[in-house]
């Protein structure tokens, strides 16, 4: 193409020259005249090329070749830029994979948007039951509905496994027979349940998880048909579920048995405890299903006014429900923060590119003189930027996969069941697309600045400059300063947000949970129904174990409760204040724990009023009750609760309130204080136990002795766990801890990048002004004066950015309010501390360039080119 154009134009000139020769002009003169007459050949060629609409690809390849040569020639620049980009983009990609799994990818079931969940809701008072319904309501609906293809229910269970290894308490599920079919889950061995299995009295069958099969049962190839001991009874294994199966609403489960409710349980309409869901028939909309349930429940209200007044079902999409589960907001916060870090990284790279561009202005001036159009130059610069970003993007995948591995290693097993799409968090197509997408986006946006800058040059002016580095267009310098200020502002926002979150985390960990968990060992177990049928057996068991543990050396105090804090169990009970009639539909309830007399003192829970339980609260006497402080305040609105009576639960056992204790944290460190009802274990026997032992030193040394004490009473009793209470708390905290760790990492990254940004700009500014500095010093300015001048400039820049960042943070942190524990979004300590920190960092970053400026030898500077 080029040579053709050349040939054509040359022909023209020679033809013209020949005509001139024919009219008498000498040959050499003719050629010269012809060329002059024609005008600038290169310009003409350039215009021809444009008029022709040059092949875009051709230009692109040319630019790419040139660009990669440039990158190779400047290894320092390239390495720093690529690393910065790789870190920034990689972090984003890693967090994105979780966002993708959580919010974007559909749930791993066939047609997941056809799945809806049912939960009982009180229309009048607006409360919802927390994802459950009553058995009778469910089974009636199951029989009579027309909107749903299938419906199923499930319940969690802790199951004791014995035989084939040490006794073990595992998380399991009791499910309707069609549970797995509804989720489209296929077993890797055997089968799922059938309707026959789901009948009360049917032979016991169980399905294992892949993990359990390969762990406890050593991957026995003959596992199907084998009998295992669950809860003291023989269950036949009929299937094994793959390790990828998960249902976040149910959490982790390693063994499933059929729900197999008895007739009485199925007819129970008063207890709301059964989680359930359904699959819509094809063509039926959510609205139609909602209409059907509304009518159905209106019907039930009339038929069963005692239990169903004001009740209806809240029908919501399962996808929606799962996504709202715990963890969603945390992931979003990480995503936003990491996005800000990326912007900071890109600003740094843009500054690097601008700096390099100023040293290339001569090159561009010459090219412009040779005929390159502005569009062409800008295009080339943009291509170079894109190339740099793409290389960074490719490198980022390495960081991303490291990041994902690290996050995975920090997520303990029992949390994994709750992370949506956990098995699908991987380097897959959508993540690659995301990485490519933001790489291109950032490359275009941030590459545009230097492209725009350098393509408009006053050619004459630039070529006349004596130095290879020109004074660098004023606009370019200002752009760099704006970038750095913006970077700093963003870094301040990141740091403030991260500090707030980390502070909240530390406070929540350090805050007193209402008891003293230090040096306390907890042993949890559940007595099987088959072996312990009588209440007296339960009482004897706990009494004996307690007395044995009490006798152990090193046991400073002991106690036992039906559920311990952070034990993973819980129970609630409905109650009624005797003498205060209930409003229709009102069903007050509270978490409920049965405790031994010395439990409170062992846990060091404080008594606010009244008394603890003692020997007078024995079996057979009138029940006593102790309530929590918040409950005393809120349920009795001003009156003294001591002496008042409550009617508890279905049996309507009436007890007298004898004491008030301080609030405790049962499940989460960030929970707000709530209601709690305690009763004596002697009067309210429990099947589940958490024995607590406070020792004078490290509690773990007592673990073996405690186990032996339990097994001395019952050799076959599986113990689910024996752990220090502090461990139990720490494990639940893992999610928060992970977020806090990530925030710390991002803060360091942001600050590091910000500091580099300031340093870069200041160093460049100083080198630009060496000439001027030399003059000043020659005229008598002291080195200190020079240094303060440079430092002053740098600080002004940094403080501007910091101020902007603080303002932005004031607005932004309001979004974090729900995640913060006892920390206000405008925590003054943070908002003063972080800017101060930045001012110091900025000062440090400016120091080296300023010091260099100070040491300039005026004579050298004046001759500096």
């Amino acid at each position: 193409m080029e040579s053709e154009m050349d040939a054509e134009l040359r022909f023209h000139i020679e033809a013209f020259a020949e005509d001139l020769v024919r009219s008498g002009v000498p040959r050499a003169e003719a050629l010269r005249l012809a060329r002059i007459e024609f005008g600038g050949i290169e310009r003409a060629k350039e215009e021809c090329r444009e008029a022709r609409g040059v092949n875009f690809l051709e230009t692109l390849f040319q630019d790419l070749r040139f660009g990669q040569r440039l990158l190779r020639k400047a290894p320092g620049f390239t390495t720093v830029a690529v690393l910065t980009l790789a870190l920034g983009i990689g972090a984003n990609a890693a967090i994105f994979s979780y966002i993708d799994a959580w919010f974007i990818k559909p749930l791993p079931y066939p047609q997941p948007d056809r799945l809806v969940s049912f939960e009982t809701q009180d229309k009048k008072h607006g409360w919802t039951s927390g994802g459950v319904t009553s058995a009778a309501d469910f089974f009636d609906f199951q029989k009579q509905n027309t909107s749903f293809e299938q419906t199923a229910a499930w319940g969690g269970a802790s199951l004791n496994l014995t035989g084939d290894g040490p006794p073990e308490l595992i998380d399991g599920g009791r499910v309707s027979w069609n549970f797995f079919d509804m989720l489209g889950a296929k077993p890797i061995l055997g089968r799922t349940f059938t309707a026959e299995d789901d009948r009360s009295g049917a032979p016991h069958v169980a399905i294992l998880s892949q993990g359990l099969w390969q762990g406890r049962y050593a991957g026995d190839p003959k596992i199907i048909g084998r009998n295992i001991a669950v809860g003291g009874e023989a269950y036949t294994v009929v299937g094994v579920m793959p390790g990828t199966f998960q249902f976040p609403l149910m959490g982790i489960a390693n063994l499933w048995t059929p729900l197999a409710l008895t007739e009485m349980q199925r007819a129970d309409r008063g207890n709301v405890w059964l989680p359930a869901f359904g699959r819509l028939k094809p063509g039926v909309t959510l609205e139609q299903a909602r209409a059907e349930t509304a009518t159905f429940f209106a019907h039930l209200e009339k038929e069963f006014p005692k239990t169903n007044t004001n009740l209806t079902w809240l029908v919501s999409s399962v996808t929606h429900k799962i996504r709202k589960e715990e963890g969603g907001p945390e992931v979003m916060i990480c995503f936003v923060v990491v996005g800000l870090v990326l912007l900071i990284a890109c600003a740094n790279v843009a500054n690097l590119m601008l700096a390099r561009a100023t040293s290339r202005t001569r090159e561009f001036a010459v090219r412009g003189a040779l005929g390159a159009t502005r569009k062409r130059l800008a295009g080339q610069l943009l291509t170079e930027s894109l190339l740099l970003f793409l290389v960074g993007g490719a490198a980022s995948l390495l960081f991303a996969s490291w990041g994902m591995h690290w996050i995975e290693s920090q997520t303990p097993g029992h949390i994994r069941g709750y992370i949506v799409n956990y098995g699908h968090v991987e380097l897959d197509f959508s993540m690659l697309m995301f990485t490519l997408g933001i790489t291109l986006l950032c490359g275009l946006v941030f590459g545009f600045a230097p492209a725009f800058e350098n393509s408009q040059l006053d050619v004459n002016h630039t070529l006349k400059e004596t130095s290879g580095q020109t004074s660098g267009s004023k606009r370019g310098a200002r752009l760099r300063r704006i970038f750095v200020a913006a970077e700093i502002a963003l870094a301040v926002v990141v740091l403030i947000s991260a500090t707030l979150l980390v502070k909240s985390f530390i406070i929540s960990v350090r805050s007193s949970p209402g008891y003293n968990p230090a040096n306390v060992l907890v042993a949890q177990l559940a007595l099987p129904k088959t072996k312990y049928t009588e209440d007296s057996q339960l009482r004897n068991f706990s009494d004996e174990v307690l007395s044995r543990i009490r006798a152990l050396p090193g046991a400073a105090s002991t106690g036992v409760a039906s559920h311990v804090p952070f034990g993973g169990f819980g129970q609630g009970i409905e109650f009624q204040v005797v003498g205060k009639p209930l409003q229709p539909g009102e069903r007050p309830g509270a978490p409920f724990t049965a405790v031994s007399a010395d439990y409170f003192s062992t846990m060091q829970i404080g008594l606010v009023k009244g008394r603890f339980f003692d020997s007078s609260d024995a079996y057979g006497t009138s029940p006593s009750i102790i309530i929590s402080q918040t409950m005393a305040r809120q349920a009795f609105s001003g009156e003294d609760p001591i002496g008042k009576t409550l009617s508890l639960g279905e049996q309507h056992s009436v007890g007298t309130i004898v004491g008030i204790v301080n609030d405790i944290k049962m499940n989460y460190l960030r929970e707000r204080p709530g209601w709690h009802i305690y009763v004596p274990l002697a009067q309210f026997p429990s099947r589940t136990f958490g024995f607590v032992v406070r020792s004078s030193g490290d509690p773990t040394i007592m673990a073996a002795a405690v186990r032996d004490a339990i097994w001395a009473v019952d050799r076959d009793q599986p113990i689910s766990s024996v752990e220090p209470l502090e461990n139990l708390i720490a494990v639940v905290n893992t999610g928060d801890r992970l977020v806090a760790d990530l925030m710390v990492f991002f803060s360091f990254l942001a600050m590091f990048l910000g500091a580099i940004g300031i340093y870069g700009v200041m160093a460049h500014l100083v080198s630009q002004r060496i000439h001027e500095i030399g003059i000043r010093m020659a005229l008598g300015a002291s080195p200190v004066h020079v240094m303060s001048m440079v430092l002053g400039q740098g600080l002004k820049l940094a403080l501007g950015g910091v101020a902007a960042g603080v303002l932005a943070a004031l607005g932004a942190t309001r979004l974090l309010a729900t995640q913060l524990y006892q920390v206000t979004p405008t925590d003054p300590l943070t908002f003063i501390g972080v800017p101060l920190l930045f001012a110091i960092v900025a000062l440090a970053a400016c120091y080296l360039p300023a010091w260099r400026g100070m040491r300039v030898d005026p004579l050298v500077a004046l001759r500096y080119e």
Binding site: E4, A7, E8, F11, H12, G39, C48, E50, A51, R52
Partner: protein
């Protein structure tokens, strides 16, 4: 200066198409022919000729191919395409209409207003 060039660009295209319609020519030949048929009253800037040729080719009004010139040298010849013929027709009509309208305006006597 600029204004003149602008006008000329539009008309240059037309002139080139006309010149080529009379027979395939190479670039220099087109230049000569335009000078010839304008009876030397029009002067074309040589530098603007080739960009115009490339543009017209890109738009499809003329087509090019390499051939041999009178003195046995390689030269690129341009000829009018079918679409170009139609285009030339349309442009000349437009030009004539425009000329008539303007002439009419310029000949208006005070009485006719």
């Amino acid at each position: 200066m600029d204004k003149q060039l602008d006008l000329l660009q539009g008309t240059l295209d037309m002139l080139i198409l006309k010149a080529v319609s009379l027979g395939a020519l190479h670039g220099y030949g087109i230049l000569l022919r335009i000078q010839q048929i304008s009876k030397d009253r029009l002067e074309i800037q040589q530098g603007s000729l080739y960009p115009a040729l490339y543009r017209l080719e890109h738009q499809g009004w003329i087509a090019s191919e390499w051939g041999e010139s009178e003195n046995k040298r390689k030269a690129k010849y341009y000829r009018l395409s079918a679409a170009g013929k139609r285009r030339l027709q349309a442009e000349s009509e437009k030009w004539n209409r425009m000329a008539k309208v303007i002439a009419g305006i310029l000949q208006t006597t005070p009485e006719e207003v």
